[in-house]
Amino acid sequence: MSRSENKSSAATRVSSFVLLIIFVTLALALAALVLAISLYSNPETQGIAVYWLLLGFIGLALSTYVLFQTRQRILRLRIETPPITTTIECRKCGFKSVREFQRGDYVFKEVEPCQKCNEKMIITAIYREVREKGKTPSFPY
């Protein structure tokens, strides 16, 4: 089983028009920054250079923010399927093995014979492990 599904659908596709606008804004913002630098070299136009610089930074910030948000939307649209573990045990000798879940597994199902004593083993546990991402208790009570 894959960790995440990333099938293309109407909801995950980003409009090419939106992307075009983002990249045009980005290009204009970069041009504004270059212009600001060239204007700054002339003492007469230093005042205007500041405004071009401001405009360039605003354009750059806006386009990167929108681009980042678009990417975040695609990431958010994935359905996470965590790995599921199946534990198999031999009730006679206590031999234990852990493997990935397979379709048809269920708790207390009899499976293949034990490698040590040849007794039928049973599935004793099926679960998923969750790793809490950066969980810091903000409220200590």
Partner: protein, 393 residues
């Protein structure tokens, strides 16, 4: 770009210098400092004007945009649910024809709850409606997936129900979004925007449930059934109405009738009927009933926390709880409950390790209750409630 060419760059600089001079001349005509501070003042005035007259509308559009973003996600989850359901049916059920049209029809099914103007006898009416719904779903699954065995058919039924729930959530949110957009009513949009985080949580939980149902993996809600399965494993079991199994287990010198829904297919059974049957078989001579179920935790509580109390620990529409309460009242049987705490996401997604391990803690708690509340030789009922998908007996 013009600026990259040396000659044209100079021209542009000259043009900008002229523009600046013109702006300064314009600024001289207006009172109050240089042109840039005047432009800034004008912008501030414009901002205040827009905030006063269009503030609410801007807020509305921001909210609409937020709802739209969530709606995209809901649509994606809904489509994925439908796709998984169709793929699983094709894989397991081996239908002769394409099941897509039938699945689409299934996703639109609805159930009308009975009239409650005169509430007397409503439980039986509700039970009948739910039975009809259940039978109809089972028939549909049989038609959709003729090659599926009973366990697989139950799992498919659960998968379709999860897909149905996602379809319904998406449609309701879309309805309010479009209604808000059409009427431009802040209050319609506000209501939906406020409950959106909870709705999204539920939808995400159903999305992770889909795979669990399709593959037949145990889910968090099945922890009650897991406790019962652990207690009855290795003892002879027999079927009891409806879709449940019972095993007579010697437990601390008492006889425990351990009940759970019949697994490993996705099934909750009717524990109400099963408990009633066992009580009547024993002519009411039951010393205690202990029910084990998963319960929603409050934020701040740990997943897999075990708590104990009294009453019938069973969710659902209330029919089974009503039946259990009626029967125990008739015979005056005390009832205890052991619950395992988890959130909505954990309840319908593959079982977490913490919840699986909590089953042993719950068994210990049951042992304590039995030792404290009953005498040796007594008969007790231990009922593990919940969806038994992926859990045998």
């Amino acid at each position: 770009m013009l600026v990259f060419r040396k000659g044209e760059s100079v021209n542009l600089v000259a043009a900008l210098t002229v523009l600046k001079e013109q702006l300064i001349q314009m600024g001289d005509l207006l009172p109050g400092g240089d042109i840039f501070s005047q432009i800034l003042t004008l912008i501030i005035y414009a901002f205040i004007f827009i905030s006063i007259f269009y503030g609410q509308r801007i807020q509305l559009y921001i909210m609409l945009r937020e709802v739209e973003g969530s709606l995209y996600k809901l649509k994606y989850i809904r489509d994925e649910g439908r796709r998984i359901a169709i793929e699983t049916i094709k894989e397991i059920g081996k239908p002769q024809t394409d099941p897509t049209a039938r699945v689409d029809r299934f996703l639109e099914y609805f159930t009308i709850s009975p009239q409650s103007l005169d509430p007397a006898g409503i439980v039986w009416k509700l039970e009948h409606i739910l039975d009809v719904r259940d039978a109809r779903f089972k028939d549909e699954v049989r038609l959709l997936a003729p090659a599926a065995d009973e366990t697989q058919a139950n799992n498919l039924e659960n998968t379709l129900e999860a897909a149905m729930a996602l379809n319904y959530i998406y449609k309701v949110i879309r309805h309010y979004y479009l209604l808000g957009k059409k009427t431009l009513s802040l209050y319609i949009i506000m209501q939906i925007q406020m409950i959106l985080p909870l709705v999204m949580r539920e939808a995400e939980a159903y999305a992770s449930a889909l795979k669990a149902f399709a593959y037949g993996q145990p889910i968090g809600d099945g922890v009650g059934a897991l406790v019962a399965a652990k207690l009855m494993h290795g003892h002879p079991v027999r079927k009891v109405p409806k879709d449940c199994v019972v095993a007579e287990v010697p437990f601390e010198g008492r006889t425990a009738y351990v009940i759970k829904a019949e697994g490993p297919g996705g099934n909750v059974g009717k524990p109400g009927d099963a408990i009633k049957t066992i009580i009547e078989e024993n002519e009411g001579k039951i010393a205690n009933i202990i029910m084990i179920d998963a319960a929603l935790k409050l934020e701040g509580e740990d997943v897999g926390e075990v708590a104990e109390g009294v009453g019938a620990a069973i969710g659902g529409p209330g029919v089974d709880q009503f039946k259990i309460e009626e029967t125990i009242l008739k015979y005056r049987i005390p009832i205890n409950a052991v619950i395992i705490k988890e959130d909505i996401g954990d309840a319908v997604s593959p079982m977490r390790k913490e919840i699986f391990e909590a089953a042993d803690k719950a068994i210990e708690r049951i042992r304590q209750v039995i030792l404290e509340r009953t005498k040796e030789g007594d008969k007790v009922i231990i009922a593990g409630v919940g969806n038994t998908i992926g859990i045998g007996q």
